[in-house]
């Protein structure tokens, strides 16, 4: 009876695992090309299997993109119970000027190389609280689906481990934190629209560029 149970359960598990593996597929975006990587910035192209195709590649000027990104600010989205009681914090800018100067040219390069099913993922890096073990990371991705520009912020000055295992306890994996959900805002607000395709909020890029004088890089 019990031996039968053992063999039956083993068979069942094998079938279950086989089935799961057979139907399994990549459901998280994955990197296809690394555009640039150094100690300050990492920019790569990611393929998102679930995304509606973008209109990549797209050519943008660095000044134009700087102007767009300067208009963004954000708040961290609190979980529901906390949301009711959380003190309303003023929105913050995503990038400082030095960060903008470092990342924008590479984002422009990435948008020029991306395929329609790819988005441009960025990580802006700095030494972490414990520089030997952690890296301060602001990360997210941008993409263009004409005439809209999408920006998603996933990490804001998050502490990423620099190694795959802990520095002290070599056996314990060091995994980066999960992306958080941030509520983005854009000024001027009249260019912050809900894209009909996909229903996500995005910047009306072309109208914005027509209306706004690009920021000077100087």
């Amino acid at each position: 009876m019990f031996r039968h149970l053992v063999s039956s359960s083993g068979l069942l598990l094998c079938i279950l695992m086989g089935g799961v593996i057979a139907v399994g597929c990549a459901r998280l975006p994955y990197t296809t090309t690394v555009v640039h990587e150094d100690r300050r910035v990492i920019v790569s192209l990611q393929r998102d299997p679930d995304a509606v195709p973008f209109t990549h590649p797209v050519q943008l000027q660095a000044d134009d993109l700087t102007a767009v990104l300067s208009g963004f600010s954000f708040r961290e989205k609190q979980r529901l119970p906390l949301r009711w009681f959380a003190e309303e914090m003023p929105p913050k800018k995503i990038f400082r000027s030095d960060e903008m100067q470092a990342v924008v040219p590479l984002l422009v390069e990435g948008l020029g190389k991306a395929a329609p099913d790819e988005r441009v993922y960025f990580q802006v890096l700095a030494p972490g609280m414990n520089p030997a073990a952690e890296r301060d990371t602001t990360a997210g991705w941008i993409a263009v689906r004409e005439p809209y520009l999408h920006l998603v912020l996933e990490h804001y000055h998050a502490q990423f481990p620099v190694r795959k295992s802990e520095q002290w306890d070599l056996r314990y994996p060091a995994t980066p934190p999960l992306p958080k959900t941030y509520m983005l805002y854009f000024e001027p607000g009249r260019f912050w629209e809900t894209e009909p395709e996909g229903g996500r909020q995005a910047v009306q890029l072309r109208e914005f560029l027509k209306a706004v004088i690009p920021a000077s890089p100087k």
């Binding site: 695992m17 994955y30 995994t175």
Partner: protein
């Protein structure tokens, strides 16, 4: 423009008033003194759980300085000098240490020469299990017996059929960090848990305490007490497993044969830099918090003559050995020249899969590694040779370690040398993981021949062991897949263990299935539901538990009784459901 925008968001009106007062002081006193270049600087600080970049200089001060410069009140040199001095002052005034929380409470000097990280880990478990009648009679007297009393008499591990209990399976406190430089690390782990089958509450135990030098990535040196770098399943942390518990076979094939931890030294390279990794270690081979000085034998003053109680020269006593004149039981320290040697070689064929089970990180590229370990641990005394065999006087700590890790069939066979092999492989890709290991332990008995168990009044041997103990082997394979990446995993495992290759009916087979939830996408916080089906054979001969039982002196009754503990055989079956919550903060 970007800077002006950031001022708008940071500078609040209430700070402005304060800033005006400060800037007036600065303009009146500091500015004319030194010339320097202004720098844009600041630092990240942790505030209310968020990391915020804070300018080194008060934003209001900076604003007023800029305005003063724009209006021509001060020159550019004066402005730059004021900013530089203000930042210098802020730097000098700040505390020389920082405190923050990030995967533990962190305390660090600003120059990062010293770091202390304090973490705590709790695994709270509820176990519901159903066992068959064989657990009542005969129970398990061979793999995991209980050793009770001063001499460690055998008791079968028996229980009721049904059990449902809560347990603090792991309660740990960790202190780690670095001294002098980030390349000189330390790690200390205390364990406060009680084993599930323990008869008394647990106390604090020093589990790990080691220092690690990473100054030379090709020759990292770790010394102290820690888990031996030998086989994959033991190197892995119990906080990053796919199941609530290791398979029994994993515990049975540790490097020293006694425990996964030992005291010694390991030289290894940095496995995140080099694709091929080596680990070479030398240890006491006696388990944690212990060394070979604790191992002993019973020998008379005359070398080679077995000891015993005063006037009670034990059997068989070689001709020429004098009669005992005083109590010579267990008073001679031997095997103290022995050490354990352990090595491991690993090839990271693709990526760096590491040792954590499952692909929680959702590897974008395939991760694959194969490895193997070899360990030689000689001179483990499982019983003395003074004919107290089976109810022996060998060090109880050694014997209990053997029983705790499921190797109790090896008890009673005198001094043994362990040579253990392990080969493993792992593959991870996009949430899928597959890993397995194969083990073999060669058990070399230094006391050759069949041990004599019973003697007649004349001292002649009347019964020997019906068979000799063989070696041990086993393997497992386990696989998992994240149904929701980084959040929800399903995993299964099959394990096979033959604890005595010379015995029949002793196989241990184990099937596990687990559903694991990681709410924050890290191993730190997890909820596991693990089902285990275990079938453990009770066959085979085990000294002191199987017939013929050893007796000494002639005609005496074995302390374990006259009926062998395995008089009624059968297969021990257990179905267990373990719900385990881990909080690693």
């Amino acid at each position: 423009m970007g800077r002006a925008a950031s001022w708008d968001s940071i500078a609040r009106p209430c700070r402005l008033i304060h800033g005006i007062i400060v800037v007036i002081g600065i303009i009146c006193t500091v500015i004319p003194v030194v010339s320097a270049h202004a720098v844009e600087s600041g630092k990240l600080i942790e505030k209310d759980g968020q990391y915020v970049f804070v300018e080194s200089m008060d934003p209001a001060t900076r604003l007023l300085l800029e305005r003063a410069y724009e209006k021509g009140i001060i020159s550019q040199e004066e402005r730059d000098k004021a900013i530089k001095e203000s930042e210098t002052r802020a730097y000098l005034m700040q505390p020389s240490f920082k405190l923050w929380y990030d995967r533990g409470f962190n305390f660090s000097m600003n120059d990062n020469a010293f770091l202390l990280k304090i973490r705590g880990r709790l695994q709270l478990r509820e176990t519901t299990r159903w066992r068959n009648d064989a657990w009542r009679n005969p129970g398990d007297a061979k793999n995991f017996p209980e050793l009770l009393g001063v001499f460690g008499d055998y008791r079968a591990n028996r229980s009721d059929d049904f059990a449902s209990q809560f347990n603090l399976r792991r309660a740990r406190l960790l202190f780690m960090g670095h001294l002098l430089s980030p390349d000189f690390k330390y790690f200390l782990q205390l364990g406060f848990e009680t084993a599930e089958n323990a008869q008394t509450p647990g106390s604090a135990n020093l589990l790990d305490y080691y220092f690690l030098s990473t100054h030379f990535p090709l020759f990292n040196v770790q010394l102290g007490q820690y888990k031996v770098f030998f086989n994959r399943s033991q190197i892995n942390n119990t906080a990053s497993m796919q199941f609530a518990e290791r398979a029994l076979v994993m515990d049975a094939f540790t490097a020293n044969g006694l425990n996964r931890r030992d005291i010694g030294l390991t030289i290894m390279n940095d496995d995140e830099i080099y694709p091929v990794n080596y680990y070479l270690g030398i240890f006491n081979g006696a388990g944690p918090l212990f060394n070979r000085y604790g191992t002993y034998n019973s020998e008379e003053a005359t070398a080679g003559c077995p000891g015993g109680q005063t006037g009670g020269n034990p059997f068989p006593s070689p001709a020429g050995c004098p009669a005992n004149t005083r109590n010579l039981n267990a008073n001679f320290r031997d095997e103290i020249d022995k050490l354990m040697y352990a090595g491991r070689l690993q090839w990271n064929i693709m990526g760096r899969p590491g040792y954590g089970e499952g692909d929680l990180a959702y590897s974008e590229m395939p991760q694959m590694a194969v490895g193997g370990g070899l360990a030689y641990n000689p001179g483990i005394n499982t019983s003395t040779d003074n004919a107290f065999i089976g109810i022996d006087l060998a060090n109880l700590n050694f014997r209990r370690q053997l029983a705790t890790f499921g190797n109790a069939r090896q008890l009673g066979w005198g001094v043994v040398n362990y040579t253990t092999y392990a080969f493993d492989g792992v593959f991870k890709y996009r949430g899928f993981s597959l890993q397995g290991e194969w083990y073999f332990k060669n058990i070399e008995r230094t006391f050759k021949g069949s041990p004599c168990l019973q003697f007649n009044a004349a001292g002649a041997c009347t019964a020997v062991t019906p068979q000799l103990m063989g070696n041990a082997t086993g393997w497992y394979v386990q696989s998992g897949y994240y149904l929701i990446p980084r959040k929800l995993e399903v995993a299964a495992r099959y394990a096979y263990w033959d604890p005595d290759t010379n015995a029949a009916g002793d196989l241990v087979k184990q099937v596990d299935a687990s559903l694991n939830w990681f709410p924050f996408g890290t191993y730190d916080y997890q909820l596991m539901l693990t089902y285990t089906n275990l079938a453990m054979g009770t066959g085979g001969y085990a000294i002191g538990r199987s017939a013929p039982l050893p007796t000494q002196p002639p005609g005496a009754v074995n302390p374990s009784g006259t009926v062998p503990l395995d008089a009624r055989g059968g297969t021990l079956i257990e179905n267990a459901l373990r719900v385990q919550l881990q909080i690693f903060f």
